[in-house]
């Protein structure tokens, strides 16, 4: 369509930089200028680091010029969800309680991004502490969906997805606890991957729910995501829950998938995530079925599998995640960093701690802390947290049984396309349903990716592929194959954002 830098995918930009057709400074400048031009409309970024990004770009250019062996994404700039800790750059988790906090250290995945010589453009908006499905719960304002600025960009990682969708960044880092990478990707027409739990270090990822949180890539296509996945993935001794195993060859799998051959691959359609699911909008179901047809044409075998426990997954998730969050968020007390409220020399310590939390946390965070505290309370823990853990075990068993029959499972990513701002603010259950199809993979721990599968009434629809634990490669392969049958949404179809 054009030779504009911002229209190019990350792999292409990386090749241009490596082979001297572009410099990282040119590329980084183009995205920074794009942010200047349109982020007033979109609101994807909470903090832009022009100077830092350009300094890193110059270093990347120097490394390329010196003939150093550089990573496959060297010089390509990236946006980072503001729940990931960046040394010297404000990190807020979109919460007032961390206003003004400048981290003294980098998350492991940020260290790896820097080591790969990828300039960090800035930090992107999210629902406060990654709790939400619309980014409306950010304490720092809304992020618009580039496809329709009156609609939400998904959540919690709406900022990262919108930044990629609006071509303000070729790549972004998100985190996925119940769907926070995949659902925003689905509703913004981007590609998003939740890797196998533990395969990407959580060290420096501000915890929401420790046993579920998984950082991963957001991109324009499967190959770009896979390349970023390989940059940030791998064992980290600082994360006890990290998997100590080789990173699955996801970039190779994405390239293999792009050849459009799925012969010999068996895909499972999960009965409980599709048939009789009145939660899904007709347009979403239609696009999803068209996607299945495409996969069949590429040679995939389709088999229906039943995962009976999946119908309880969302309920279990809404006990486990808040329970862990209620404990993880206890550290925000105004004593050591961030906001401190009411420290007037009159109030006592505990009063100041309490007031800080009262003022510092938004309504959704408070709701989940209360819910989680309740779920862990004496007399209730067995009925709530305990039962939820049992469901989690059953979900794992369902996945394991399914993967004895099929190579990967497929479903829509989310039941509905981007909704309007405020549409579900009064009906949180409806909002929580956004995670209906994504939550099972989090409870299980296996990978799930969302790939665009066309439009419904002009809005993007996502198609989810789930693989077995450490089988991220099969998910990328299937997603890349489906992608090869689709119009590249962002290149050709996306409406051009106008700057304010």
């Amino acid at each position: 369509m054009s030779d504009r830098i911002i229209d190019k995918a990350a792999a292409e930009l990386a090749a241009d930089i490596r082979e001297g057709r572009l410099t990282s400074v040119e590329v980084t400048t183009a995205f920074l200028d794009r942010i200047d031009a349109v982020d007033g409309t979109v609101g994807a970024f909470l903090h832009v680091d022009r100077e830092g990004a350009l300094a890193a770009a110059r270093e990347a250019d120097a490394a390329v010029a010196a003939g150093e062996s550089v990573s496959p994404l060297a010089g390509v700039p990236i946006a980072v969800k503001d729940v990931v800790v960046t040394k010297g750059l404000p990190t807020t988790a979109a919460s007032k309680i961390l206003e003004g906090w400048i981290p003294p250290y980098d998350a492991t995945i940020v260290e790896r991004v820097k080591a790969a010589r990828m300039p960090i453009l800035g930090k992107t908006n999210l629902d406060e502490f990654a709790m939400g499905s619309s980014t409306e719960f950010s304490a720092y304002g809304r992020t618009a969906n580039p496809w329709d600025t009156g609609r939400i960009p998904g959540g919690s990682g709406g900022g990262s997805a919108a930044a990629v969708a609006a071509k303000m960044a070729p790549l972004a880092i998100g985190t996925d606890t119940g769907g926070s990478i995949r659902q925003p990707s689905a509703v913004t027409g981007t590609f998003g991957a939740k890797p196998t739990y533990g395969s990407n270090s959580r060290y420096g990822v501000i915890a929401f729910s420790s046993s579920l949180d998984t950082p991963g890539p957001v991109s324009r296509n499967a190959l770009d995501a896979a390349l970023l996945h390989e940059v940030i993935s791998g064992h980290d001794p600082r994360d006890s829950t990290a998997v100590d195993a080789p990173v699955p060859p996801v970039a190779e799998a994405a390239r293999l998938g792009a050849t459009g051959d799925l012969s010999g691959v068996t895909l499972g359609v999960v009965t409980e995530l599709t048939a009789g699911s009145d939660a899904a909008e007709p347009g979403v179901v239609e696009a999803y079925r068209a996607g299945i047809d495409q996969l069949v044409k590429l040679g995939a075998q389709i088999r229906e599998v039943s995962c009976p426990s999946f119908v309880h997954a969302l309920a279990a998730y809404y006990l486990i995640a808040p329970a862990e969050a209620s404990s993880n968020l206890a550290r925000y007390d105004g004593v050591r960093y961030g906001l401190r409220a009411g420290d007037d020399g009159e109030r006592g310590l505990e009063e100041v701690m309490s007031l800080t939390r009262e003022v510092g946390f938004g309504p959704e965070v408070k709701r989940r802390i209360l819910l989680g505290t309740y779920a862990l309370s004496a007399g209730y823990i067995d009925r709530f947290y305990g039962q939820a853990q049992k469901v989690r075990t059953l979900v794992k068993r369902d996945f394991e049984a399914a993967f004895e029959q099929v190579d990967a499972l497929v479903s829509p990513t989310t039941p509905f396309t981007a909704f309007k701002f405020g549409e579900h603010s009064e009906d949180l259950y409806r909002m929580y349903l956004a995670d209906l199809y994504t939550v099972p993979a989090n409870l299980y721990g296996g990978p799930g990716v969302s790939v665009p599968v066309g439009l419904a009434e002009g809005l993007p629809v996502g198609f989810q592929v789930m693989g077995p634990v450490m089988g991220d490669d099969i998910a990328y392969r299937v997603a890349a194959a489906l992608e090869s049958t689709q119009e590249p949404l962002l290149a050709d179809t996306a409406p051009e954002i106008e700057g304010k």
């Binding site: 060290y203 006890s240 006592g348």
Partner: protein
């Protein structure tokens, strides 16, 4: 004013049940969940990092050396070691606890079901150990501007996180009934035995006065044949003596309340060294719900049986067996041996004997003169600037007649003030016993001439009067005569 019964009156009507929770700081090089140093006494907040400050995003990694030390403690306390164990979060808000939860263990402790036998007045008591688990310490809060560091009236509260995250082992007994009037002594003996066991393992310095071992002492009373009573928990008792005194006090206090028909409040209490009293802490009426749940940031631990057996093979001789062996070898009575133990002198005496001293000489110096010096300077015995080999050397000089006790004490002065070893000090200060009999006889003659009355008494058979003459001789020889020799010469001359 708190009413108290006499101890005897209390014991005539009630039976006590004890329970002791002990926290021991391990002396690993690094903290429980991060790489920060654990050295005591550093500048505040210099031994901290994102993990132990609970910065957003930081994650714990368990310290293997601490796990190993805890397994050793469990084995030494006759516990079984879990094949599958994990950490749990104990959730409550406290300003010096960075995460506002303590990473501890709940339903799956590392070690369970052990026992310790202690002997009090020749009677053996078995203290059953319910569990031994691993957790982390909190920081320390200092309240500035108020009276005596209390939060009340303070203008500022300062927190030092150097201690936050130091590995702590918690050892919990089962309830201990049946000790009767010996309860205070049994409690003390248990704490002492536990301290000795842990020290013998070399995993903690177990210094109660520095807080590296602290006891929470639970006491309840019931009338014979009735159900156990409501217990109180006296927190952070920090000496063996205080353990004993706090039990005694609680028995006296609780029995007076029960006599008056009052109820015992289940509460935590504080012990006051100065008065020997306890006072109420936080009431447990609003029972804290800690909302324990498995720590999702840490992996489950499965100590292999091979590893456990490897650790078991490294366990030293149990302190009690060792004490029995040494007591026999040193030919000490029970009381004397108890004094040695109480003075923390077992190792020192053993080393002194190994360096060639007689057992009685070694015991005499360490329990006598050297204990006194340590007390005077307020240091532990083993912190004195004198090595067991030097004590052995000193005793050797006494045995050879080159020093008498008085001179030996002066030699100790010299050694303690860094003037060198005993032989060097004796030489430098000119502190050898005068063994030249000619010189001594002249001194004795002089003394007889100067004290005719005393001399007459001795001639008259009153040998006790020799003391005055010996004193005169010692004075004129500046103490460098051997008193026995002088006495012999005097008696030879006058009888």
């Amino acid at each position: 004013m708190t009413r108290l019964n006499t101890y005897d009156a209390a014991m005539a009507a009630y039976e006590p049940v004890l329970g002791i929770e002990t926290h021991i700081e391990l002396d690993t090089n690094t903290k429980m969940f991060c790489g920060c140093s654990t050295v005591f006494g550093a500048e505040p907040n210099t031994q901290v990092c994102p993990v132990c400050l609970a910065l957003p995003g930081a994650l714990p990694v368990a310290n293997k050396a601490a796990v190993e030390a805890t397994i050793k403690i469990g084995l030494a306390l006759n516990c079984s070691i879990a094949e599958w164990t994990r950490f749990a979060r104990k959730n409550y808000f406290y300003p010096d606890m960075p995460k506002n939860f303590q990473t501890s263990q709940h339903e799956e402790p590392l070690c369970e079901d052990g026992f310790v036998d202690v002997v009090v007045d020749g009677e053996s008591h078995r203290i059953e150990i319910e569990r031994v688990h691993l957790e982390e310490d909190t920081g320390k809060t200092l309240h500035v501007g108020g009276a005596a560091g209390r939060i009340h009236g303070a203008t500022e509260s300062l927190v030092d996180y150097n201690r936050a995250g130091i590995p702590l082992v918690e050892i919990v007994t089962r309830p201990v009934p049946g000790t009767g009037a010996l309860a205070p002594e049994v409690a003390r003996a248990y704490a002492a035995e536990l301290r000795d066991i842990v020290r013998s393992l070399g995993v903690s310095d177990v210094r109660m006065e520095q807080g590296s071992m602290r006891c929470d002492v639970n006491v309840s009373l019931n009338r014979p044949g009735e159900e156990w009573g409501t217990r109180t928990e006296t927190k952070n008792v920090n000496s063996l003596r205080s353990v004993e005194r706090s039990v005694r006090y609680e028995i006296r206090r609780q029995s007076a309340l029960l006599d008056a028909g009052d109820k015992i409040l289940q509460e935590t209490r504080h012990f006051h060294e100065a008065t020997g009293e306890t006072s109420p802490g936080r009431s447990k009426e609003e029972a804290t719900d800690y909302r324990y749940f498995p720590e999702p940031d840490l992996a489950v631990m499965e100590p292999s049986r091979a590893w456990v057996e490897e650790l078991r093979a490294t366990l030293p001789e149990p302190p009690r067996k060792r004490r029995e062996r040494l007591q026999a070898a040193w030919a000490l009575g029970d009381k004397e041996m108890q004094s040695v133990v109480n003075a923390d002198a077992v190792e020192l005496i053993e080393a002194t004997i190994a360096a060639g001293s007689s057992a009685s000489g070694a015991v005499k110096w360490w329990l006598g003169e050297l204990s006194r010096r340590a007390n005077e300077s307020g240091v532990e015995l083993d912190a004195l600037d004198i090595a067991p080999s030097q004590v052995a050397e000193l005793q050797g000089m006494v045995d050879d007649g080159r020093l008498n006790d008085k001179l030996a004490r002066q030699v100790i002065d010299g050694v303690l003030s860094g003037e060198g070893g005993p032989a060097e000090v004796a030489a430098a200060r000119g502190l050898e016993v005068v063994s030249d009999t000619g010189a001594l006889e002249a001194a004795v003659d002089e003394a007889i001439a100067a004290n005719p009355d005393a001399a007459d008494k001795i001639r008259g058979g009153k040998h006790a009067a020799a003391g005055a003459l010996i004193g005169a001789v010692m004075k004129s020889t500046k103490g460098q005569a051997d008193a026995g020799t002088v006495r012999r010469i005097i008696l030879d001359k006058l009888s």
